[in-house]
């Protein structure tokens, strides 16, 4: 789960990282009022969970409240990488002498968090890492001992930060580690960390990603989730305890298990080629109770692109006949108007298939192998297009 800039900077402030921050506006009039209150030059920034905001015109400098209103009017409602901008942050302007990158993320290979710093900040750190890897300083953090103050001085030295800023820089880096640690973040990034004209360091922009696996112990953070920033169907799925990601294809997939769900997607793409592909990732979890199946089916069908639905259920713990009965019940409730391709494997799979075939539902096709099921789904989707 990712946080918006204004949410991230509010957390930064709570941990003592200097992050100049204005207020969030949802209308251009609000932006006018905030700019008036702040006085002077302001920056109007789209609050959207996507990179490349600046290039897309989502950040504008305004020299007066009127200009702020105008800028907000242009940014609000704008689409950045498929996401609509619902909020802008109106921030006080800052004089910028130098932009530095400072972030913490997890390194999967070493199993350790890593502090990353580049004196060449302000741009995508991945870009700098590719073009000038020697300018990207990485310092591994001992997961148990945490980030030591001496390490931060090491980083300041290696990154060629001017000495007069070491103390301030070290202080901010240690606080960023606390932000990362205490919020179970997977990313906590200040980009840019700015040296101002007044020779102060401030976090001008910030980004945080949280560990979804840890939200169970951060209910306050879980509440920060911006539902307007995701597809409504994804919200519904999460509330139903279903793992769902909307995609752009035509074949709805309902699968148990994440690995098998990805594989099912891959098979529809493999046999669908450029014309037909997966409409979603969906892992329904263990078993396949009728109400959960019905909820999943409704979510899949809420996507108007869906021309066929592929059920691929490996009856491990749950028996195939039970799954089949659950499917029939869900079918009755939802009454889908697109073809359903059903593949049952595992315990009592044969009995399950018999139950479904006996029911003789319109638009229901059974398959026994994954290949067969995927091919039939592709065929059905193409036929309906």
């Amino acid at each position: 789960m990712n946080l918006h800039e204004h949410q991230t900077k509010a957390i930064f402030q709570r941990f003592g990282i200097p992050a100049p921050m204005g207020k969030v506006a949802t209308t251009s009039d609000q932006a006018y009022e905030i700019a008036k209150e702040l006085g002077g030059v302001v920056v109007v920034k789209a609050q959207v969970l996507a990179g490349g905001r600046g290039k897309a015109g989502g950040v504008k400098v305004a020299k007066s409240p009127e200009e702020a209103r105008e800028a907000a009017g242009k940014i609000l409602g704008m689409k950045i990488k498929d996401l609509t901008v619902h909020n802008v942050l109106v921030d006080p302007g800052a004089s910028i002498t130098k932009e530095v990158y400072l972030g913490i993320t997890n390194d999967r290979s070493s199993g350790k968090p890593v502090l990353i710093c580049s004196y060449e900040g302000g741009v995508e750190i991945e870009e700098v890492a590719k073009t000038h890897p020697e300018l990207v300083i990485k310092e591994p953090i001992h997961p148990i001992m945490g980030l030591h103050p001496y390490q931060v001085m090491n980083v300041a030295s290696r990154a060629n930060i001017p000495r007069e800023y070491w103390q301030e820089f070290g202080d901010i880096a240690l606080k960023l580690w606390q932000v990362f640690l205490q919020n179970d973040a997977v990313l906590a990034e200040i980009n840019p960390l700015v040296i101002t004209g007044e020779n102060k360091l401030i976090a001008l922009d910030g980004k945080m990603g949280l560990d979804d696996n840890a939200l169970q112990r951060h209910t306050d953070l879980a509440d920060l989730r911006d539902l307007t920033a995701e597809d409504e169907s994804e919200t519904q799925a999460r509330e139903a305890g279903i793992s769902y990601v909307k995609l752009n294809g035509q074949i709805g997939c309902m699968v148990n298990g994440a690995g098998l769900a990805m594989t099912t997607m891959d098979m529809t793409k493999l046999y669908g080629g450029d014309e037909v592909g997966p409409a979603n990732f969906l892992d329904i979890g263990g078993g396949a109770k009728a109400d959960r199946v019905a909820a999943a089916l409704r979510i899949i069908l809420s996507d108007p692109n869906v021309k066929a639905v592929l059920f691929n259920i490996f009856g491990g713990i749950t028996r195939g006949d039970e799954v089949a009965r659950g499917l029939l019940q869900a079918y009755e409730e939802v009454k889908p108007n697109v073809p359903l391709i059903i593949r049952l494997v595992g315990t009592n799979a044969k009995e399950g298939r018999e139950i479904i075939e006996t029911a003789q539902l319109p638009n229901v096709i059974t398959a026994s192998t994954l290949t067969e099921a995927a091919q039939k789904a592709v065929q059905a989707a193409k036929g309906a297009m």
């Binding site: 199993g111 001992h142 148990i144 995609l247 699968v255 994440a258 490996f314 994954l370």
Partner: protein, 286 residues
């Protein structure tokens, strides 16, 4: 001989009194696994599915001589359960629980460096199955049959598919190991591949991977250098868009790293036969 577990492995179940723990205990017992005890603080002295419950892991180990623990403790309690098993020096620990915060796993992995004699598998994994001998986890026992194919996988149901396909093709399995799809797993591909390489019963190996991280690429490099037995592989997630997590905490292509294509290419370069479709796996092993 098999790797990690066999019919002599004595298993205790942490979280045995929970819904999942109780249910899975029955399935493990039914399969013939030697489940010698369960653990739940405050419920010591009770019995679940014919298995005695103890208040702590040390008491359970002391009373039963268990050398393996499987963890079904739900939520954040799983982390504490892992520490309890580690501190009680249980040599094989299998954690089924999902989700476990990644920071907890990084700490545990670091802590385990001081205890190289302990092997942790998981979390967020289906556990182990040594067909005909021991089921330590949730892999459905009936799909498997004893044989000479070793399986190591990040996925649950996808593994069942492959086991099923192998069994239907008349190819039995030595041991099936689900290492889980978390970014920082207790045990990685290479560690299991090394065990298979050294296991006389295992003659062929299947590696089932997915998008995210570079574990499959590291495995490919290891295979190229050290593996003498034939390996077939399937990588899930070729059609997944970058930057989006696909169910598993670790299944995400980030910063240009972790794509299925890169992994498949690395494996092919290491001489691994890579399937486009998991149903091709038995054919690739012939």
């Amino acid at each position: 001989m098999t790797i990690l577990a066999d019919k002599h492995t004595k298993v205790i179940v942490q979280g045995i009194t929970g819904r999942e723990g109780r249910f899975q205990t029955r399935l493990m017992v039914d399969y013939g696994t030697q489940v010698v005890g369960g653990v739940r603080a405050g419920k010591g002295g009770e019995w679940v599915e014919g298995v005695p419950v103890f208040d702590t892991v040390s008491l359970a180990v002391e009373a039963t001589g268990a050398n393996c623990s499987i963890i079904y403790v739900p939520g954040v309690g799983a982390t504490d359960a892992m520490y309890e098993a580690i501190d009680a020096n249980v040599p094989l620990i299998v954690c089924i629980t999902d989700p476990v915060p990644v920071m907890d796993m990084m700490k545990i992995k670091e802590y385990l460096k001081q205890k190289p004699e302990i092997r942790l598998i998981g979390p967020n994994c289906p556990g182990l199955l040594t067909p005909g001998q021991a089921k330590i986890g949730i892999i459905p026992g009936y799909v498997a049959t004893p044989g000479n194919v070793g399986i190591v996988s990040k996925s649950g149901t996808l593994t069942y598919e492959v086991i099923n396909a192998l069994t239907e093709a008349g190819m039995g399995q030595s041991t099936c190991v689900g290492i889980g799809g978390d970014p920082v797993p207790g045990t990685n591909f290479i560690e299991v591949l090394e065990m298979f390489e050294n296991d006389p019963q295992t003659e062929k190996v299947v590696l089932i991977g997915e998008i995210g991280g570079r574990a499959e690429i590291d495995a490919a490099e290891w295979i190229k250098r050290h593996m003498t037995k034939p390996v077939a592989s399937f990588i899930a997630g070729r059609s997944a868009p970058p930057g989006t997590r696909m169910g598993h905490a670790g299944a995400i292509v980030e910063g240009g790293e972790g794509s299925a294509e890169d992994k498949m290419n690395a494996l092919r370069a290491a001489g691994v036969r890579v399937a486009d479709n998991p149903e091709e796996i038995p054919g690739l092993l012939k």
